[in-house]
Symmetry: C2
Subunit: 575 residues, 2 copies
C-alpha cells in the first residue's frame, strides 16, 4: 500500500480531548475518527491492527477447542427477561421497541445468547464440554467514555462461553483459557499484563480473574504484594487490619461541639484516626432505605464490596431525613435509634475503647467496646478499601502496593446462574436432569490495541509490535523524483510483497522530515530508507522503530536481509 | 474438527416456517438458530461459510484498491439529519435516544458514515479517487423478514464507497467494481447471476445495477429479452406499447350502469381492455393529496416508477371523498373536476377513440381522443409495469420474459447527493471548491450464502462449492470401534490437516445411514468413507457431494489423491 493512497491525515498537534498517548497518536496518525461520544470509525491502519489482534485471538481460541459462532447485536428482550438481567442491568444497556412494538436490546454481553444457542441442543452429558465464541460488535451506553479506544460505547469484543458438567471440568478449562489469554498478550506484544482475582460484578459468578495491563493511565487499581506475589483487584482484595489489645475502659459520653468530621473530631480529642469508629451513610437505589457502614476511622469504604455484600445497587446518601433517627456527624452504633441497615467492617474487630458518635448532636462516646456496648454477636464484613502498605491477605506482611491498570481481559466461572434461570438442562450419566456449569471469557479488541500503544510508544508515535503492526515494513523513498531511487524503491516494494511481507511505501514528494514524522506515527517496526546518497554507496538504510537497530543493507542482499529482520521481529512474540 | 464435538443438531423434518430449501437445510443442518423475527445466531458451520465468503469479497475489494475501514453500527442521528435521510427513511431505520437523550440510529447503510470519515481529509483533487469499504453488521427493521437468511433484519454486509472528481472517473471505477462483483459470484460458486439496470430507490443515484441470482423463490422480477440480451429490473424496464392508428371518431357519452370495473365495462361494451383508459387512484403519504394515473386498460401501474416520478411516497387511495370531485368507477380525463395530480402513462400515446370514465355516475365516454378532448400538450410518463411478451426497449421485439431473482448485490452511481448535503468538498486543479462524486457498492454476505444453497442442493442437503464450504473434506469412519478403521481414519485426518486441508471427521458410533444423512446436510464437497470392507480391499471410498464422482483411492496414495481432488474442485471456481 502506498502512503499517498491511504485515506487519513497525519498531523502534529494532539486534539485537546486527547489526554493519553494512545488516544493522541491514534487520532494524529489517522487510525480512527471521532463520530460522537464513545463512537469511532476506523481508518485502514486502525482496522488492520484490529484484524491482526482478532486473528491471534481466534487462533488461541481455536487451540483450546473453541467453536467460532455468531450472536446477534440486536436481541429480543425476552431472553434477557428469562435471565433476569433485563431489569437488573441499568441504563448502559440500550433498550428500544422495534417497529412491531417488541421490546428489544443491543447486546452488551452474550451469556443469554450463548445459552439460547446451546439449550435444547446439548441434551446429554456426552455433548459436554464445549466452548463457543464470537468476535462481534457490542454496545454499552457508558456514562463516561474516555481515552479514545480505552473506554468506548461501541467496541469489538471476543466473548467466549464454555459449558461443563462438573466444577472440576470448568476449573480445568478455566485454567486452559487463562493460559490462552497469557499467550494472546504475549503474541500481541502486551508486556506488563498480570492476572488478578477480581470481583465478578454483574456477571454473577464467583471465581474470576481480570487481566490488567499495568499503566499509570489505568482506571482500575490493583493490590499487589511484592513479597509473595499476591495480586487482586481492589474489590477482591481483603483489607486486613490489626488492632492493639488493651484493657477495656468505661463507656463515657463527652461533649464534642462542632466535630462533624473525622479530622475535626481527632483534632478536638487529640487522638489518631484509627482510634475512631467512622460511620458512612448510603441509600439503596431501589427503596431509598439507609445503610450505615461502621468502619475504622482511617479506612475508606469500598463501594463495590458493599454492593456485592448487599446484592443491590447503593449510592451515598443524598440527604438524611429527621425521621430516620440518624444524627448526621454524630452517628455511632451504641444506643442508635437509626432506621437503617447496619454494616460493621472487619476493621472494627478487636478494636477497644473506641470513639464513636453518641447519636446526639455534639456528643461522642469514648471507651466504646462493641461487644460489650452493642451486641456480642456482630457479623463483621469486609467492606474496607485496601491501601498502600496494607497487610497482604496472603503472606500477612504489611507491604501491599496499589498499582493502576487497564483491564484488557477477564474470565469468569459463572456457575449455573444462566443455565438455571434460562432452563438449560442435560441428562447426566444416571439419567438425571442437570443444569450445565458455565464459564465466560472476554477480551476487548480495540482496548487491547490502545493498551499496547499506551505501553509501547515514544514521543513521536506508536511502536507497534510486528505481530499487530498495520504493515511489517515501511519503505521511505527520499527523492522519488530521482529515477534511480524510484527504480530501486519500486523494485524493493514489489520483491518484498512477493515474499509475503506487508509493505507500506512512501513515495510522496515531501521533505524527509515530514516523511519520517509520518513514519513515526505509522509505527511500522522495520523502516527502509532509499535515498540518492545511500544508493551511491550501494546500500539502503535500515532501522527499527524502537531504535534498537540502525544499519545499512547492501542493495544486492537487501530483500533477504529484510526478510530475516522481519522474521527476527516475529520471533520476539512467538510463544 | 470432529462431528461429535460440533455444537448443533441435524434433523430430518423441516420446521413449518421453512418454505424454501436454503432455509430448511440451514436450520436442519445446524448452521443457524432462530432467535426472533429476522434475527439468527450462527453455529460454526454457518459462521465458517460466512467467513469464506467475506474473505473472497475482501480479496476482490482489495484488488480494486479498496481500503478496508470500519464504521460504527450505532450512529448519532446528526449525520443522518445532515443528509436528510433521518426523516426520509421510514421505520425500517431503528431510532432511539441514548442515556444522555441524544437521538441515535442503527446503521442500515453507511453513506453518511463514509462521508463523515472522508470529509475534511480528502481536501485536494490529488487525494482522489479512493474507495473505502467495510464488512459489518447492519440492522434494518424489515416488515417482512422471510426465507431464513434471504431476508433478515440483522445481517452482515460488505458496503463500499468510492469518491471521484469526475463522472468519467466514477464510471470507470464503477465498471471495475462491476467486474469485481462478477469475480465474487464466480468464486463463491453462484452460477446464475445476472446484472440488471435497476431503480436506485432511496439511495438517490441515477445509474445503478442489481446483481440477480435467478431463482423461482426470488422476490424480484426481472425483464429479460432473449433476443438481444436486454436485462432490467421491472422498475427500470420501460414499458413500450403500440396503439393502432385510425380515424378520429366523435366524443359521445354513453350510459354504462354498474360498470365500475374494467372487466364489467369491457363486457358491457363488448370491447377489449386495450381500448379502455383505466384510472388508478393513489394518495401521497405526506399530504393525502390524490394522484390519478391514467393508463391503458390492459396494463398495470408500477408503483415504484410512480414513486420515483413523483419523488415521494404514495399508497393506493384508501377512500375517495365526495369533495375530491372524483367519481369512483367512472373516472376519466375528459371534463374532469377532480382535485388531484393527473399522471398519463405513455401507453395512452396515440390511442384513438378510447373509452374512459365520464366523471359522472354510470356514464362513460366513447370516442375520446386525449389531444383533442383533453389537452394538446400532455406530458406522458412511463409508469406501466412491463409484462411477459412486452416489446423489448432495446431491440423492439415483443419477446420480453419476466424472471424471478434474488438480489445478491447492487452498485450505484450516487453522484453528489451526500457530498453536497454533508458539505464535503475538495479544491480542484484550478483552485475551485467542488463536491466529490460518489459510488456505492453492497453485498449481503448471509443472503449470498443462502442463495448459493438455494441454487446448489439436492433433496438431502446443500452442495457447497468448495470455496465456501465449511470444510473441504469429510471423513466418515464407519465402525470407528474397529481398530483398523480408527487407525486409518485418524491417520488420514492428521495427514490431510498437515497438508492444509480443512477436514470434518465423523467418528461417531452411529449407523451408516444416519452418518451419511448428516454428511449430506453438511454438504462438504469431498467425502471419504473408511470402512472395514474398504480397508480389506486396501482402499477408501471417495465421492463428490454433487454425485459427479464415486471411486476408490488406494490407501497408499489416498492423501495425495484427495489433495489433488480438492485442488481440482478449487479450480472450478478460479477466475
Amino acid at each position: 500500500m502506498k502512503v499517498r493512497n491511504i485515506l487519513g491525515e497525519r498531523f502534529k498537534e494532539a486534539p485537546k480531548d486527547c489526554t493519553i498517548a494512545s488516544h493522541a497518536f491514534m487520532v494524529r496518525g489517522g487510525y480512527m475518527r471521532y463520530m460522537c461520544n464513545g463512537i469511532y470509525s476506523l481508518y485502514t491502519p486502525g482496522k488492520r491492527i484490529m484484524q491482526k489482534i482478532e486473528a491471534i485471538i481466534r487462533d488461541e481460541m481455536n487451540k483450546i477447542d473453541g467453536q467460532e459462532v455468531m450472536f446477534p447485536v440486536v436481541m429480543p428482550a425476552s431472553i434477557w427477561e428469562e435471565s433476569g438481567r433485563y431489569t437488573s442491568i441499568g441504563s448502559e444497556m440500550v433498550r428500544f421497541d422495534d417497529r412491531s412494538g417488541n421490546k428489544t436490546v443491543l447486546g452488551m454481553t452474550h451469556e443469554e445468547a450463548a445459552v439460547h444457542l446451546a439449550r435444547d441442543i446439548a441434551n446429554s452429558y456426552t455433548d459436554y464440554p464445549f466452548m463457543i465464541y464470537q468476535i462481534q460488535t457490542k454496545f454499552r451506553d457508558e456514562p463516561r467514555a474516555r481515552g479514545g479506544l480505552i473506554r468506548v460505547r461501541e467496541f469489538t469484543m471476543k466473548d467466549a462461553y464454555s459449558f461443563h458438567t462438573s466444577m472440576e471440568d470448568l476449573q480445568k478449562y478455566y485454567m486452559r483459557c487463562h493460559k490462552a489469554y497469557e499467550n494472546i498478550y504475549k503474541r500481541v506484544g502486551a508486556k506488563n499484563v498480570i492476572s488478578v482475582s477480581s470481583d465478578s460484578g454483574m456477571m454473577g459468578g464467583s471465581v474470576s480473574h481480570e487481566f490488567m495491563l499495568l499503566s499509570d493511565i489505568g482506571e482500575d487499581s490493583i493490590a499487589i504484594c511484592p513479597e509473595c506475589g499476591y495480586k487482586a483487584n481492589m474489590e477482591a482484595a481483603e483489607c486486613i487490619t490489626v488492632n492493639p489489645a488493651g484493657e477495656m475502659a468505661e463507656l463515657k459520653k463527652v461533649h464534642t461541639p462542632d466535630t462533624k468530621t473525622i479530622e475535626a473530631l481527632s483534632d478536638f480529642l487529640h487522638i489518631k484516626e484509627n482510634e475512631l469508629c467512622k460511620a458512612v451513610v448510603y441509600q439503596k437505589n431501589l427503596t431509598d432505605e439507609y445503610v450505615i457502614v461502621f468502619i475504622r476511622g482511617d479506612l475508606e469504604v469500598n463501594e463495590t464490596k458493599l454492593r456485592n455484600l448487599l446484592g443491590e445497587e447503593i449510592h451515598p446518601a443524598a440527604e438524611i431525613t429527621e425521621e430516620s433517627g440518624i444524627v448526621a456527624g454524630f452517628i455511632g452504633p451504641v444506643n442508635s435509634k437509626a432506621k437503617a441497615v447496619m454494616i460493621f467492617d472487619k476493621s472494627l474487630i478487636g478494636m477497644q475503647n473506641m470513639i464513636c458518635g453518641a447519636n446526639e448532636l455534639d456528643y461522642h462516646y469514648v471507651g466504646a467496646n462493641l461487644e460489650r456496648d452493642y451486641n456480642k454477636n456482630i457479623e463483621y464484613a469486609d467492606v474496607a478499601k485496601i491501601y498502600d502498605g496494607a497487610v497482604c491477605p496472603c503472606c500477612k506482611k504489611p507491604v501491599i502496593t496499589i498499582k493502576k491498570g487497564i483491564e484488557v481481559g477477564n474470565i469468569f466461572q459463572l456457575g449455573t446462574k444462566y443455565t438455571e434461570s434460562m432452563g438449560m438442562t442435560y441428562l447426566d450419566k444416571d439419567g438425571k436432569l442437570q443444569n450445565p456449569i458455565m464459564g465466560c471469557y472476554g477480551i476487548g479488541v480495540g482496548r487491547l490495541a490502545a493498551s499496547v500503544c499506551e505501553e509501547s510508544h515514544d514521543d513521536y508515535g506508536p511502536i507497534w509490535p510486528i505481530t499487530i503492526a498495520p504493515w511489517h515494513v515501511e519503505i521511505c523513498a527520499l527523492r522519488a523524483d530521482n529515477e534511480n531511487v524510484k527504480f530501486c524503491a519500486d523494485k524493493l516494494y514489489d520483491e518484498l510483497i512477493g515474499k509475503g511481507i506487508e509493505v507500506l511505501y512512501d513515495d510522496r514528494d515531501v521533505r524527509p522530515g515530514a516523511m519520517f514524522a509520518d513514519a513515526d506515527l505509522f509505527g511500522i517496526p522495520v523502516r527502509v530508507v532509499v535515498s540518492p546518497k545511500n544508493l551511491d554507496k550501494g546500500v539502503v538504510e535500515i532501522s527499527l522503530r524502537d531504535k534498537s537497530l540502525k544499519t545499512e543493507f547492501s542493495l544486492e542482499t537487501a530483500v533477504e536481509d529484510i526478510c530475516k529482520l522481519v522474521n527476527d521481529e516475529f520471533a520476539k512474540y512467538t510463544l
